[in-house]
Amino acid sequence: MKHSSPILTLQQLRLGYGQHSAVQVVADALQEDVKFQEMIALIGPNGTGKSTLLRTMARMQQPLSGEIILQGNNMAGMSAKEIARNVSVILTDRADVSSIKAAEVVAMGRFPHTGWLGFLSATDQQKIDQAIAQTHIEPLLEKPLHQLSDGERQKVMIARALAQDTPLMLLDEPTTHLDIANRVNIMQLLRSLVREAQKTIILSTHDLELALQVADRLWLMHDRSLTSGAPEDLVLNGSLARVMGSKHAPFDPQSGTFRVQHPKHYCISLEGSGTIADWTRLALERVGYQVQSNTTTNAASTSVIITTHGEWQLRQANQQHICHTIEELLQQLSTAIRKAPSVPNPLDNA
């Protein structure tokens, strides 16, 4: 189902801590709409207020001023239970009681829906089973939380949020502590929930490369404000590079990644193509070479030619060397420099 009106609207929202005289404003004048079935990645350097914004949107914290409109209702006038039926939250804190079983954690998601004593109705049970099926955590159910890996625990927490059956899900750094396979796995899971379970998801993350691939929109938090847009637009107009890049690791719009800047001391030319050439270039850059691709080699300069056999031919002055691994190539290069001071030493230029 598609809705034309936004699920969540931030109106002149001012976030922060403290009261009266000692107010610390984290972000101000936030004005945003969140559409139904949208996945928004909240990006920003540490300390720009990503968690504060998420907590404020879940009403776990009061805004300093401004309003949050949830499905047409002002959040300030809603009860905790009403909000909990519309917004579920996954926090960075580890759940403290770890002897609790995964199945019990998922069932806890029904909290805002059950009666006085929390007994589960058939509907509750159905929602729980559905959440378990959507997150594929069937084998984990009987295990206590402390026996689960970080990735498994995160899935259980997502299942709990699903069982809470809210149109809006807020996740605070759901992929920290996870290895790359689990990070991708969690992001794909969240993406599939947007698509198949009609969820609207706002998540904060430092995983920019992944966020660029899965998010419909980025919220870029910086300097007490928020820039919103499609990931691609923010790449193209340079916002992302400006906010997230640094001198040491500028954002590379071509690859959508941050490249560590290595100081360049030497020049070398590289002949070859494909993955092998890409990785050779990265290796050479790491040890301080400025790499020029497929330029006409003059006899005097150093060059690496990738042969048809997948080997590296190192040409230096009038010497030639065949290397079988990149490690060997780098080794060869470093000894050659030390042995032959006649070769113009790039360190002199530095």
Binding site: A80, S98, L117
Partner: protein, 363 residues
Amino acid sequence: MATTTHPLPSQQINTKRRLPLAAWLLILGVGVIVTGIADIAWGSVPIPVAEVFRLLVGKKTDSEIWSNILFKIRIPKAVTALLAGMALSVSGLQLQTLFRNPLAGPSVLGITAGASLGVATVMLASGQSATLYAIQQSGIGQGWLLVGAASGGAALVMLLILAVSLRISDNIVLLIIGIMFSNITLSVVSIWQYFSQPEQIRDYLLWTMGSLGSVTTDHLRILLPLTLLGVLGTFLLSKNLNGLLLGEQYARSMGLPLLGTRIGIIVVTSVLVGLVTGFCGPIGFIGIAVPHLVRSLFNTTDHRWLIPGCCLMGALVLLVCDLISQWPGSAWVLPINAITALLGSPVVIWVILRRRNLRAHFH
């Protein structure tokens, strides 16, 4: 399993897990009944179990003394043990969950200390006429004075804690403030003792050792309904107690009314602990240890199981302690406080060493 309507994984788990829990409750229940009967049959004057049953079903017996001992002394004492065990265990369970601390118990909020202050006020300030003996023997008025003083002291500390809890949102800070209140109160009592007569101090010390025997049938008319009310209140809080398990932040995000829950827990535990301390003196250990025993035994974190478990286990443990304190044939009745710790501490150590999962409940 074949009869479950939802052949889905979580449903199967529920059925698989809950059967043994119900069985455990049954075993504990039977244990309470057996120990209860043993407790009223044995003592310095043993009464044959057959006679106990005859008396219980209302038949006449040969000995008027047995009847008197049974109805005037032992049954009130056993019922008191039952109620006190329930009240203290359930309070300990709630406070451990609220403060997420395995060492929390009924004494942490300073409620026990408040009761002590009340009792000290009566005993140490009222001169010779109000010694413990006099208070206990001089009929309803004086007996109620002691109970009223203890409950009043507990209520005073409870109001202070409530006032603090409205302002402080951090439960750990609240825990520390409770412990400090407790220390302040107890040091006031110490100073008072320092300036009191030896006989008065002796009476006060006797009170601090705890006694299940000073509760009369009249007292039970108050203790019984209020304790049951408190336990019922705890049970009504069980959903919110479960909600606190993932931490306050998650609880808040799931719509749990944190302040209301906290006030509910403080009021219920204060009433339960204040009552028991008022009637029986500060009985230690049960409130900390029994919840751990039940958690280990039941292997669940669901308070809807833990609360009845704690009720039965607490009653059972205190009845056993009472049985030991009035060791059959011996003329002495040892202070109940000494027995609870002497018997219970090794049990808790054993459970912790065997299970090694005590910390897992809290971290």
